[in-house]
Amino acid sequence: MARQEELLACVIARLIADARHVAVGAASPIPATACELLRAQGKPIRVTRLHKRQGNPFTEGSRELFDLAGQGRIDYFFLGGAQIDGEANINLVRAEGRRFPGSFGSAFMYFTCRTILFREEHSRRVLVPKVEFVSAPGWSAPEVARRGGPVALLTGKALFGWDRERRRFRLDSVHAPHTPAEVRESTGFEFDAGSAVPTPQPSDEELALLRGNVAARIAPDYPEFAQRIWGK
């Protein structure tokens, strides 16, 4: 039986399977696992891990990440949010009187990279009708230069696809044992019903890779995560 983290990594790997270059942050062990899974499957994907504990990919300082993204040299990025709404706006600043760390690079990266919104907590507290503060908008007027934007929203319960024309999420799949009814109950925004099929479980091959080579490559930068999931 796959763990939820393994299932989520496999879902992400399918979403970004056409990537040439992906950047992942310090708080993103599951996206990093997805990238390593693709590499273990023989895909020639470049993975730039931000804030690596040893070394780092940039020699021009942290602005090089944004320069790369600005030129279109990063295909996929991952963003979360204290709040995410039905128009794919994300809020990293404040909600319900609480102050959160801040917007980081989201207001730029969301415009420049195809973006997977990823938040394990799936509740009405997080998935709200309207964010209290727009750190980065889910869509822009046609005259605003924008190469990137939302591709999908993945949570601990479900995968939503993003319909760019209609500016709405669509329930593509639900992770067992959760149900479409439960997803609707715990989502604060309106969305389209979609196919809402059960999310495919990781295959035996995927699980063998995850628990072998992938775990070994994740452990140095995400030691707590690797220990918790794989005991490595």
């Binding site: 310090a26 300082g61 602005r63 009187g97 801040g102 420049t112 908008p137």
Partner: protein
């Protein structure tokens, strides 16, 4: 006062010194984000304003003194997004009043700001709005470095955002692990990681001056210390105990006067 993030050579020695001197009404600029150094200064009452893309302790979680001060309105917070900070400092490096930046339009970050404007790209007849970010000139930049030398240069290796801060700030004060003889700009291998003395106001030696944060190849971030701080600083009392133990007491023992 421009400060680097926790992963990019903050001078904890200078942060501790500012707290011991009871500095007040500082306006902090995170380049592009802040962590432990800002949380300590805020908790110790040194800070009036925080301009940053984020303040967080990374894996150790929220920055507790920042969060409480922001929620209570004790400090003014001006929210940025990372590349806007870099762009504003790069404008100052070049001596131009502003620079354009893609993205950001439609974010609430752009609201009620006199230092950002959305303008039409003058080089096209098509509608093409773009954000203009005005230059930021920090009065002071503070950071730590692996080496200083007799010529007044400092070596930061690949942490080139520190060069941008030093270029843009009126004064850059740097603590270093070690002071080397000679001039590092004469050494072809060291020179690309050097910030020239042109931009450096003063250097002081502070061994382990970034601890409990890290210096590449010398000492790593002390994750256990950060987790301990995050836990204790959740309450005002716990934070004050931390200050007593690691900053006020430190003055009487190992730290130079």
């Amino acid at each position: 006062m421009a400060l680097p993030p926790d992963y990019s050579l903050p001078s904890m020695a200078l942060v501790h010194a500012l707290i011991r001197r009871k500095a007040r009404n500082l306006r902090l600029l995170g380049v592009p984000v802040l962590g432990l150094s800002a949380d300590l200064l805020i908790g110790a009452g040194c800070v009036a304003e925080v301009h940053s893309s984020a303040v967080s302790l990374g894996e150790a979680g929220l920055a507790p003194r920042f969060s409480e001060a922001a929620e209570r309105g004790d400090i003014k917070v001006v929210d940025y997004t990372c590349p806007a900070v870099h762009t504003a400092l790069q404008a100052t490096e070049k001596g131009v009043p502003f620079m354009p930046l893609r993205g950001v339009i439609g974010s609430d970050l752009t609201r009620e700001r006199s230092d950002w404007q959305i303008a039409q790209n003058p080089f096209t007849t098509a509608k093409d709005p773009i954000l203009l970010v005005s230059a930021i000139v920090p009065d002071v930049a503070l950071f730590h470095a692996r080496w200083g030398d007799e010529a007044g240069n400092v070596w930061v290796g690949r942490r080139r955002e520190l060069a941008t801060i030093a270029h843009a700030a009126r004064n850059a004060y740097v603590t270093v692990e070690e002071i080397r003889k000679g001039d590092m700009l004469e050494d072809e291998l060291l020179a690309p990681g050097v910030i020239s003395s042109v931009y450096i106001s003063a250097i002081a030696q502070a061994v382990r001056g970034a601890a409990p944060l890290g210096v590449a190849d010398l000492y790593a971030i002390d994750d256990a210390h950060l987790a301990m701080y995050a836990k204790r600083a959740r309450s005002r009392e716990g934070f004050n105990e931390y200050l007593d133990e690691f900053i006020w007491q430190g003055r009487k023992s190992s730290l130079p006067a």
